[in-house]
């Protein structure tokens, strides 16, 4: 999309020994630098040149800080600390970098005699941050600075030191807003990659938890971590995830949704094939199934693959509450899910084609409520659904205080005025409200959206072909779902290639002590989750145990 911005300018031969900016230099300031080009650019031995180069490449940006100093005694060796204001913590730079470099180097008596050794001395004795890397090319240097590292350059060295001193603004860990639970941890992911991985790591202390970093986006250079448990995740799956990720060549990754669209199996399907969540506990439980998580820097939404259909209808609370409730809630969800798809179309088809299928008394009240309504049922339903969707959209985008006003106006306008004006029937309002409520029951927003979208073609089918059309629509959806795959796993996984053993977590949610196997399509290496015989029981009285 943004490709046309990218101008592939050819590299110009750099003029040597002429530090004063010439016309060509000005021309260079205005051109862009590509990664490939920067990777080929080595650092020079002269500090001045290097600093000028950095300045030039960064376009002399106002947040670039270059602090020059002298190292050691006797006039010392010139050096400089380079970092981006705001990304790097100034306190750390002051306390651990500059202090060491200026004061301690003088106390150590660093001088001209150390000329060839100076870099190692700086690295080993004077830079006190925990993580230090070396950069040999301009590219590496800039990549570090732009992530938040502070770079130390010393005269006569063709390398630079990158000291980690992150100081970017962060949001604290809060409760995830899109997936609320009554019972369960309240922590949610934040925008910071490191925080997110630490939230996962803290819940999974196994040494087999592997994080592999990939940088995506030619300009955003977003860090992405592929997270999986060695021994549980199928190595081929991990390989596939990595290869799909490495295929991505885009300008920018702003949200994990960008990645999702670029790695899903069938981009034309309305069904989501990648799971996303804000909850670390959900990610961990899916990792324990043998799935692979993709953590993206800059977004609290973590992707998990493969994601079969049923995953989108399950909530992590299903496993935190006792299983009776979980089973009931799960079935409630299934029913609501189907209702959110076909309720309006069923209503349309019944009232316009199959009146004989409605119980007499219900038919009478439907007929009475439709008396005087000027539109056919389909138009009525479409109108109401449209209004409802518009209201919902308005409610989300508006500031919270105004959002309430919208819902009041909506409820009044739709619920009361439209009915009493005789434009829509009261029964239609009930149907739309039921559908709306049902669509909110889906625990994952992306699946709710799918149902919401599919509802409209279903309504058209119902209005043209009646129940026959509805069945056709359902059949097409079913066939499509059966043909889908998410990272090699059939989308209707435990159902369509039937794994009867996995139905214990689909038709119901068996108690945890009976859930001893992982999903059979995943975790083929280690299918057993736990030992058998974990069912709790009171101690045997005859055995004399207390």
């Amino acid at each position: 999309m943004f490709r046309f911005w990218k101008k592939r300018t050819r590299i110009l031969p750099r003029e040597k020994g002429n530090p004063a900016p010439s016309r060509e230099d000005y021309a260079q300031w205005e051109r862009s630098y590509e990664a490939d080009e920067l990777k080929k650019m080595p650092l020079g031995p002269r500090l001045k040149d290097n600093l000028a180069l950095i300045k030039r490449i960064l376009g002399n940006s106002s947040d670039l800080v270059i602090r020059e100093f002298r190292l050691g005694v006797d006039g010392g060796v010139p050096g400089a600390v380079v970092f981006i204001d705001g990304l790097t913590d100034k306190g750390t730079v002051n306390d651990t970098l500059l202090k060491g470099l200026t004061l301690e180097s003088r106390m150590a008596g660093l001088g001209g005699r150390d000329a060839g050794n100076i870099f190692a001395l700086v690295r080993n004795f004077m830079v006190n941050t925990s993580s230090v890397r070396e950069a040999a090319t301009v590219f590496e240097l800039l990549d570090g600075i732009l992530y938040g590292d502070a770079a130390v350059l010393v005269e006569g060295e063709t390398r630079a030191l990158l000291a980690t001193a992150p100081g970017w603004p962060v949001r604290s860990i809060e409760e995830p807003t899109s997936e609320n639970l009554v019972r369960g941890p309240r922590e949610g992911f934040t925008e910071l990659l490191r925080t997110n991985t630490s939230l996962i790591r803290r819940r999974l202390r196994t040494p087999n938890l592997v994080l592999e970093r990939i940088t995506l986006g030619e300009r955003t250079r977003t860090y992405v971590e592929v997270v999986y448990i060695r021994g549980l995740a199928d190595p081929r799956l991990v390989q596939e995830v990595k290869s799909r990720l490495s295929r991505i060549r885009v300008d920018g990754i702003l949200e994990s949704g960008n990645i999702e669209e670029l790695i899903e199996d069938n981009p034309y399907s309305p069904f989501p094939q990648v799971f996303r969540t804000e909850r670390p506990d959900r990610v961990v439980s899916m990792l324990l199934d043998g799935r692979v998580a993709i953590v993206t820097d800059g977004t609290p939404f973590v992707l998990v693959v493969p994601a079969e259909f049923i995953v989108f209808l399950q909530s992590s609370e299903d496993y935190y509450e006792r299983f009776f409730l979980a089973i009931a809630v799960r079935w409630l969800r299934y029913i609501a899910f189907v209702a959110s798809l076909i309720l309006p179309s069923l209503y349309i088809s019944l009232t316009t084609f199959h009146q004989e299928m409605i119980p007499t008394r219900l038919l009478i009240s439907i007929a009475a409520s439709r008396e005087g309504v000027p539109f056919p049922a389909f138009v009525e339903a479409f109108l109401m659904e449209f209004t409802f969707e518009a209201l919902r959209e308005a409610g989300i985008r508006l500031p919270r205080n105004v959002g309430q006003a919208v819902s009041i106006v909506g409820a009044l306008v739709i619920g009361q005025a439209a009915v009493s004006a005789g434009i829509v029937s009261s029964l239609m309002v009930i149907i739309v409200a039921l559908t709306g409520i049902s669509s909110f029951v889906a625990p994952v927003f992306s699946m709710a959206i799918t149902m919401r979208l599919l509802r409209f073609p279903m309504m058209v089918l119902a209005a043209t072909l009646g129940i026959f059309g509805v069945m056709m629509g359902l059949l097409v959806i079913l066939v499509h779902m059966a043909s889908l795959r998410s990272f090699g796993i059939p989308y209707l996984a435990p159902l369509a290639p039937l794994h009867t053993g996995d139905l214990k977590d689909l038709l119901m949610r068996v108690p945890l002590w009976a859930m001893d196997k992982r999903p059979s399509e995943l975790a083929k290496g280690d299918p057993l989750r736990q030992e058998e015989g974990l069912k709790p029981a009171p101690p045997d009285k005859k055995g004399g145990q207390g």
């Binding site: 316009t352 009146q355 004989e356 009475a368 439709r370 008396e371 009493s420 829509v424 029937s425 009261s426």
Partner: protein, 419 residues
Amino acid sequence: MDRLRLVSVALLLVLVSILSGCWDHREVEDLGIVLLTALDLAPGNKIRVEVQTLVPGAVVGGGAASMGMGGGGGGRKRYLNLVAEDRTVFEAIRRMSLEASRELFFAHNQVILISEKLAREKGVTEIIDFFARNRQFRRDTWFLVVRGDPRDIMEIPTHLETTPAQVIMGIINRQDLSSYFAPTKLGEFIKMLESTGIEPYTAILQLKPNPAFTRISLLPGVDTPPSLYRLWLAGAAVFRQGKMVGQLSERETRGLLWVRGEVRGGPITIALPASQGKQELTMEIMRFGRGGVKLEPYLAGGRLGMKVKVSVRVNLAESQNLQLDLNNPRVISRLEKELAGVIKGEIMACVTRLQEEYRTDALGFGQAVHRKYPRVWRQVKGEWEDVFATMPVAVEVKTVIRRIGLINNPTPPHMLEVR
């Protein structure tokens, strides 16, 4: 190019479905929902069809139209009766569209009424073809005979229900409280009509002076006076060769229902000697059903006979006889014996009436013979009417009194306590 082709194919598919779809599309509010259909004989060998359609807006308050106007549909009449005459039923129904603003919709028709005149003179065989052939009429529609003009019944004032059709439905649904009438559904009627060895029967609907009516009701100040007439379902109309030949009384009808195994409840009274002559006890029949009756045909000397075995359980509902000691099992068994006699009387009354007067086998004896003696049946099939009329029938009734209610012995006034 490929994509263009794909898009055009998809577009064509959508267009095709829109073009061909909707052709039988009709909105609910465009339907005249028929609840009752009645057939009568009209002059000139025509059939008069009368239908009762519902006016939904007047029935349910709170509809879109009535909401702003105080709800409840005001004082509009809640049903509309349409009448048309023609040579065939279908022709007459289509003739109604000349005067009805809505398409008549029969899928929710509850009752089909046949006037007695039509049933007796023309018979039901010809007219029932339409109902069997039409896809809107359900097989579980009640099929009844009406005494008098069906139009009267269709205009009877209703209070509890919305339309007369629903009143009829309500009475039929409460049939298990009396078992004094024998309604039949359309499908069942057709089945009985077309099979040999059984003749159809169904209940008779008629008007009856309203006993609740008093002159006081007509005085000014009384809200709405009760109607002079009430709907009343009683007895059974029996048919032979598709024509109605007669009717059974309440007692005979229950006899019929005993044999058919369709008694689902109702009171049954016996009288036992007490201090002041005979005094009554009433039992309530417990769910009886088809398993309680056995038809056992037998051959004796080349002659067909029929043994009817009935076993029934009852509860004591009321005892006006104060002398009985209901704690005594021997008294109970005496009651049981007495009761068996009454039931036997009901059955025999029915059998005698059918054999001697109407000569029609509404009891289904023919089917029982067919099942047990297929060879014999083939011989007697042709003259079954005569064979049935003369066949000996024996009835055997076994009764059990299960419960006698909350009290054991009747509460006697203390005068009798001395005894």
